[in-house]
């Protein structure tokens, strides 16, 4: 499911835009800028790490960024859209449209490997297909237990390590 990005490095259509007025940034450049936009709730990972940017493309000279929500009620969604817009406008993008895409529904499979590594280093156990963390992100012990299926954000649950006794967030696998 590396489909999260592998963006338009092979999309060369931007050449046709070069002649039309001001130069438009190419799609790969836009992806690079989006790599640098942090998730507002878990700023250690970027929006592209999270796998919620589903597409970057031009329609005529308007840049279309397609975003999928993690959870339908996640309050960060509107902040994410604002952050994307602020970042891209800051890089000089003038004609910009953000589109919401519901299907295919976001899955934690779209979190990149680097995103998983960053989560763990930050103290959040990355999602596991088994439905629970494989180890404590603090001490590495496998002696962990669930405290609650829900946590500080819609995407996390609360777990506890019975070896080092530290509570920690687990990124729910959906």
């Amino acid at each position: 499911m590396a489909a999260a990005r592998l963006p338009g490095r092979n999309v060369v259509t931007d050449r046709e835009h070069i002649t039309a007025g001001p130069t438009l940034p190419d799609v790969a450049q836009v992806w690079d800028w989006l790599h640098a936009v942090p998730d507002p709730e878990i700023p250690v990972i970027s929006l592209t790490d999270l796998g919620i940017i589903r597409g970057v493309a031009y329609e005529d000279d308007t840049l279309i960024v397609t975003v999928t929500p993690t959870y339908s009620g996640c309050p960060a969604t509107s902040i994410i859209n604002l952050d994307i817009e602020t970042a891209l406008r800051g890089h000089g993008v003038e004609k910009l449209e953000l589109r919401r895409q519901l299907s295919p529904a976001w899955t934690t499979d779209w979190i990149t490997q680097s995103g998983r590594d960053k989560l763990e280093a930050y103290g959040i156990a990355p999602p596991q297909p088994a439905g629970g963390p494989d180890k404590c992100p603090h001490c590495g012990s496998q002696l962990v237990e669930k405290m609650s299926q829900f946590g500080s954000t819609p995407c996390k649950a609360q777990w506890r390590c019975t070896a080092c006794l530290e509570p920690f967030d687990y990124f729910k696998c959906i």
Partner: protein, 259 residues
Amino acid sequence: MATEIKPADKEMLTQFLLRMGDNTLILGHRVSEWCGHAPVLEEDIALANTALDLIGQTQLWLGYAAEVMDDGKTADDIAFLRDAWDFRNLLLLELPNGDFGQTLMRQFLFDAYQSILLPRLMKSSNQAVAEIAEKASKEAAYHVERSAETVVGLGDGTDESHRRMQAALDRLWPYVGEMFVSDDVDAAMAAAGVAPDPASLRAEYDALIGKVFAEATLTIPDSDFTHKGGRNGKTHTEHLGHLLTQMQWLQRAYPGATW
């Protein structure tokens, strides 16, 4: 989310979408009433998160309803500017919360329904309905896992928790049947391939709740009497109006307020 809709079907589709959206809106509001009041912090957070998911789903359902109605209204207008008789939620969901056990019992009875209905809606002939259902069904699957676990934990728990859960089931059971009472709207949706006839979900529902209640050592009341009137808006309980005075307070006090 553009899907071609014949004018004749518009009213029926709107009613269907209001039922979906009002269910999640009213339950979402009820569950949010627990915020800051749950017995332990973890449950408080769990309830708030559940409410948040439900309100998020409401934005999708009522947002699409507004699109179909096509008269300039938004999801917010539908949520905040209608009165009790325009709501199409199940009566079960507007009942006061009762104690924590009753709240979780109601949550389980509804989660079980959604966990069966939403996967069917993913195959809807209406693309927008299918997409919303795809998103919502993941959340519903997670919700039913938790509410079922809690019903088992409390049902098969202490004498007091068992007694309270049985009382909650006895109290709420007469409101379960409304989920499966079909009418013209359901027939129109089924004929158009938009949604299944709710009556067709009953067997699967009974199997699911039967399994959980057996594990919870709870007894399903031996009665099929059903209160109804929420889904079609004909007879809401007196509780809905009180709920709306809270939920719609801002728009009632300051009409048209925005920020």
